[in-house]
Amino acid sequence: MNDLLIAGGIGVAFGCALECAGLGDPPKLAGQFYLRDFTVLKVMLSAMLTTMLGAFWGGRLGMFDPGAFYVPDTYLLPQLLGGLVFGLGFVLSGLCPGTSCVALASGRIEGATTMLGLFAGVLLVGLTFPAIEPFYRSTPYGSLTLQRLAGLSYGDMVALVTVVAVSVLAWIAKREARP
């Protein structure tokens, strides 16, 4: 029960943040792919940096053990193909799964149609799963991290990703400052 209270509370905060950023607005999200509106990248990179640095430094300061945090398993080909198909869908609907809920909650019908499609998509995969299971389970690498792949320490990888992400954010700011 306690777990579900946390789930609801975290969800409320998540939905609130996405809505405040304007990520329930399909033309705004699609605008990212036309380099017209950089809200998606700004929010994603800022959030990722905050969590990554928070997990690293919180671990250093003994607030929690980031080693216990869940690292999604890597399945090279399914995640590569999945990402390509997902990106195509993202431009078509102008929403992603989380933001489709935000769109619906702020009164946009597009949110409901995208959610309907999402149900159809997962249902389709579930129904055809015996046929696609070999591909689904192909090229597994376990919970592989960037630092293990690159042979760097956790701290060095965090520093590297920070430099890259901040550079991208700075490039966006410079681009937007152009008249």
Binding site: F14, Y34, D73, Q79, F90, T113, V158
Partner: protein, 169 residues
């Protein structure tokens, strides 16, 4: 229909979202998610409609093994997202009234919404997560698969965008 208040500053909102995600990791050991809720509810529907079909698929089974798929952690989280987003939009005067003609989308838009959703459902199921659960949460934990998914997503998006220019004038 002009919004009463404009959207918040994206970097600042991103930092807030990052703190929510960090709190989620610290409290539960796992990140945020979205597509898993759709998969969980779809599994719940399947097992109600046709238990044999549901049990024949290891994909549906994986969502049916730990308790009811209707009140899985991620489903409750997504109900929270709906409540949080609805509250935030209403308080800021940003809620669209779907029956106002100016904001009603065309039939074509609704179709591309369903088509895009279907593709994203397939993609997220294959990849084992979406923008929230895999790209953002896994990306922050420096998972290789999360970064591959994110790179592929943006690559496909940027390549497909010029072909769909008519959708987003």
């Amino acid at each position: 229909m002009r919004p009463l208040r404009s959207y918040a500053e994206p970097h600042l909102t991103g930092v807030c979202l990052g703190m929510v995600l960090l709190a989620c990791f610290a409290l539960t050991g796992q990140g945020l998610g979205a597509s898993g809720a759709f998969a969980s509810v779809a599994s719940g529907v399947m097992v109600t409609v046709s238990p044999e079909t549901a049990m024949h698929s290891a994909y549906f089974r994986s969502y049916l093994q730990d308790g009811s798929p209707w009140i899985a952690w991620i489903v409750v989280e997504i109900i929270g997202v709906l409540v949080g987003a609805a509250t935030s939009a209403a308080l800021a005067g940003r809620t669209r009234l779907p029956f106002v003609r100016a904001t009603r989308p065309s039939a074509g838009k609704l179709f591309t919404g369903v088509a895009g959703g279907t593709l994203m459902g397939i993609g997220a199921a294959l990849a084992r997560g979406c923008t929230s659960g895999l790209a953002l949460s896994g990306g922050a934990m420096l998972s290789v698969g999360a970064w591959i998914f994110m790179a592929a997503l943006f690559l496909a998006g940027f390549l497909a965008a010029p072909l769909m220019r008519r959708l987003w004038p």
